[in-house]
Symmetry: C2
DNA sequence: TGAATTTTTGACCGATTGGACAAATCCTAA
DNA sequence: TTAGGATTTGTCCAATCGGTCAAAAATTCA
């Protein structure tokens, strides 16, 4: 019988382990080649199993990809979700920038996976974007507006502020090839993430200082 | 005989016209599907010609892609190249931001084409990045440093400043699907580019105001 | 232990894709 | 007008890819 749980029988130990291995391999391959560019053979190879064996755990390439995106989503949105209305705005924004830069440094594959998906028009996660991301961003935009009303940060469009935070931080994962080419061999070490964090903090700290 | 000019015979009128049509079609298809996801048949269809006919003008899919990237590069780098050391820093940066946002609005296909290429590790333009882009950025980083020494803008890392300008502006083309999902139907009209330009100008204007 | 169930695999298939080729048609310049 | 080169197309091919299937091997549990 196939391992796919259309009806919810309990997952066996082997199923849990193998699905884990497959998703890790899929992240590696999909983040490099994109959905279309990746092949099931490559993923199977990276997961050290035969193609039919892999297809025993996930019925199709689409299934693997969808499972991977769903699994990573919460992790991906965690930094924004943790932004706390009750905290100090400067501290909260600083912390958010730090976490996003750390993710660009430590989880570039995840960043590129999502970047590629959005670049293609988000065909697999369109409803996630409107059903989960939008409400979260709406909520945090309210938090930002609250801080603005309290005079703690400058009054700007909160949505574009969030976009700018995303753009500046994720840039270091998604466009790494360009950044390394421009910075050259001298500055392309891991220190660039620290420099980036410092610059971005300074930019937003001065840029949002209340008048 | 093939139309490909290994040796430099003059290009005929038909060759000029057809190559133009092919590259326009290739931009459309490649920017949507990426290099791997696009097919020669799709490009031929979009260019209203048969596949063998298309392959008469460009020997291979790689050739079309390479020709397209090279053709668009100058246009793509023009805004940065035009940043003038002799001009007023605030005006120059403001103008740069405006031009980049206009390009995100008017040439999203070009932006996504390059974004996808960089995301994949820039396999086709690695040497362009180091031979053309890096020198240009080095030159403009010097201009920025000069402005900083003159006390006209705050002292920050000029490279990360350029990265942040790229990131915030190109974001509106490359991640358009996400932005439209988050802003929702009410705000996803063309006005978002104007809002974005205003926000980014304000962010950098305040963020770079000399102390 | 041994039967039932789960897991693994080799062989295979149809569709798609990048590209080759030769024949046919069209242009153009003398 | 016409010869020679430029352009166009129908046909075909080999490789790749997503996925199937039946049978073998391994595991689980009564």
């Amino acid at each position: 019988m196939t391992a796919e749980n259309a009806e919810n029988k309990p997952e066996t130990r082997i199923q849990r382990e193998k699905r884990e291995i497959i998703l890790e391999a899929a992240l590696e391959i999909f983040s490099i080649h994109g959905f279309r560019g990746a092949t099931i053979d490559q993923i199977a190879e990276a997961a050290s199993m035969s193609k039919p064996n892999l297809l025993y755990y996930y019925r199709s390439k689409e299934d693997i990809y969808a499972a991977l995106l769903h699994r990573l989503l919460d992790t991906w949105l965690a930094p924004l979700a943790e932004m706390d209305a009750a905290g100090d705005p400067v501290q909260e924004l600083r912390r958010y920038i730090r976490r996003k830069i750390e993710m660009a440094r430590d989880f570039p594959r995840e960043s590129r996976l999502f970047a590629n998906e959005i670049l293609r028009g988000a065909p697999h996660i369109a409803n996630i974007l409107t059903k989960e991301l939008k409400p979260l961003v709406d909520e945090k935009a309210d938090v930002l507006r609250q801080w603005m009303r309290q005079g703690k940060i400058a009054s700007v469009d909160p949505y574009h502020l969030i976009f700018a935070l995303w753009a500046t931080t994720q840039h270091y994962a998604d466009f790494d090839a360009q950044i390394q080419a421009v910075l050259g061999p001298g500055r392309s070490g891991e220190g660039r993430f620290e420099d980036a964090a410092r610059f971005i903090e300074q930019l937003f700290w001065n840029g949002l200082r209340p008048k």
